[in-house]
């Protein structure tokens, strides 16, 4: 595949308000850098993430989508991330089944204390998605400029 050297992926990161968004704040506080292509959307809990949002992101041109939530057992709402875990497992498996690169989607549990993990995860994820190149299989040509 031809890779445009200047091309950088667009990454949408859904972060739960209580753990991962705070973890992202902490990586800011500690000045731990990660690529600017990562854009965070705040949701109350990982269980708020509707598969529709992920597909929508890919449609609109995202190249990778990552969900970050509290570690299982630590959910602010006690059970939210357990549901998110099942839903995402099934969705990702389905995307893989449809032949869509499974490396484009990811779930990571990041606590409010894991600023370093947040930055490291984002660096790693951006690298992985960059290696895959542009999202072609779930894009909507009408949404391309």
């Amino acid at each position: 595949m031809q890779v445009d050297k200047n091309w950088t992926p667009t990454i949408v990161a859904f972060c739960c308000n209580w753990c991962s968004y705070a973890g992202a704040d902490l990586s800011g506080n500690n000045r731990l850098s990660y690529p600017a292509n990562v854009k965070i959307i705040r949701i109350p809990c990982s269980c708020r993430l509707n598969p529709m949002f992920i597909l929508r992101a890919f449609q609109r041109g995202a190249d990778g989508v990552i969900l970050c939530g509290c570690h299982p057992g630590d959910c602010h709402y006690t059970t939210g991330n357990y549901y998110a875990r099942r839903r995402m497992t099934l969705l990702f498996s389905m995307l893989d089944y449809l032949g869509i690169e499974k490396e484009r989607t990811r779930v990571e549990w990041v606590s409010a204390a894991e600023g370093a993990k947040f930055a490291a995860t984002m660096n790693e994820f951006v690298e992985a998605v960059t290696a895959l190149g542009e999202n072609k299989r779930l894009e909507d040509f009408r949404c391309k400029q």
Binding site: L55, R86, T89, E103
Partner: protein
């Protein structure tokens, strides 16, 4: 069988147990049987049909029928039975208003299979034990019934009617070893590129007629998200590859854990897209990851997507499972 069922239907009407009967009658052709409501014994005598083409799942029609005045009789085949129970669990049908007659079923046939066997100009199909006697304009032909079965009947998962008021014929058993996941496994073993190519070749034929949605007992929303302009994803016709994928992914996800694998989506698809393979993928994953689950097999259990255990597999298991590059 047809005679017994008709007799039962008339008996239920005449005894006043019910005031109408949900059954099948011939559509445009003798093999495209459509669900119909009968209110008099005369109608039943005249139009009621039960044949190897009575595949249509009756349970969805009960959502509306069970809310009308008086009791309705319904004939429930094993696969309809799972949807029947699932819909009761979802409070969609009023059980008290239904007299359910369970039917023992040994498989329904698919006209496509008969045609594909090279039999043309079919005018009638009669079941005769293991064989089908097929009348054509070129004379009578025969074919083994097992070769003409619907896909879902080839891999029949259960012959058990979960819930009914009485049975016609012997109630059967579940068969977990029915091989219904073989096709899914084949796909899983392909490379992602092959899988992508396969699904593009299938889903790109989708004309968004919504037949799969309309027939699906799990897709019984009062208003579908795809019809709701406020949902943000409403669409009438798929305008791009993405929308073709999107519709079927979301649909499969919305019925995950509630889909009983009745196979109606694939049966009615005019483009012959094997849609059941999407639902079965979810079912297979759920069975493997969270323990065997059959939607509609009981009245209490929670679907796996609405349940959890603290030790569930992480989503990263997807990277390790299934076919790889």
């Amino acid at each position: 069988m047809q005679a017994v069922i008709k007799k039962k239907a008339i008996e239920l009407l005449e005894s006043g147990t019910v005031n109408r009967v949900l059954g099948w009658k011939a559509g445009e052709f003798f093999y495209d049987l459509t669900p119909a409501v009968f209110t008099t014994p005369e109608q039943i005598e005249k139009d009621f049909v039960y044949s190897v083409f009575s595949g249509a799942n009756m349970s969805k029609y009960l959502i509306d029928e069970s809310k009308k005045e008086g009791k309705v009789a319904a004939f429930i085949k094993p696969c309809d039975g799972y949807s029947f129970v699932q819909l009761q669990k979802e409070h969609r049908i009023v059980r008290e208003n239904i007299y359910a007659v369970g039917l023992a079923c040994d498989g329904m046939c698919d006209m496509r299979e008969i045609r594909e066997a090279g039999i043309k100009g079919v005018t009638s199909v009669e079941e005769d034990g293991e064989t089908l006697k097929i009348g054509t304009i070129y004379g009578e032909k025969t074919m083994a019934k097992k070769d003409a079965l619907l896909e879902r009947c080839v891999h029949c998962k259960s012959k058990k009617v979960v819930d009914c008021d009485e049975m016609i014929g012997e109630n059967g058993e579940e068969n977990r070893d029915c091989g219904r996941f073989d096709e899914v496994e084949k796909l899983e073993a392909m490379s992602p590129d092959e899988r992508f190519a396969f699904w593009r070749s299938q889903l790109s034929r989708c004309i968004r007629c919504n037949a799969c949605r309309e027939v699906c007992p799990a897709c019984s929303c009062v208003k579908c998200v795809f019809d709701n302009p406020n949902s943000g994803i409403a669409q009438k016709a798929a305008a791009s590859d993405f929308e073709e994928n999107n519709f079927h992914i979301i649909r499969a996800f919305h019925v995950a854990g509630r889909c009983t694998d009745c196979g109606e989506c694939s049966r009615v698809c005019p483009e012959h897209i094997p849609l059941h393979l999407l639902n079965r993928k979810f079912i297979k994953d759920m069975n493997e990851l969270y323990g065997f689950y059959q939607a509609g097999a009981d009245f209490e259990s929670k679907p796996p997507v609405m349940n959890y255990t603290t030790g569930d597999a992480e989503p990263s298991i997807v990277y390790a499972r299934g076919g790889d590059k």
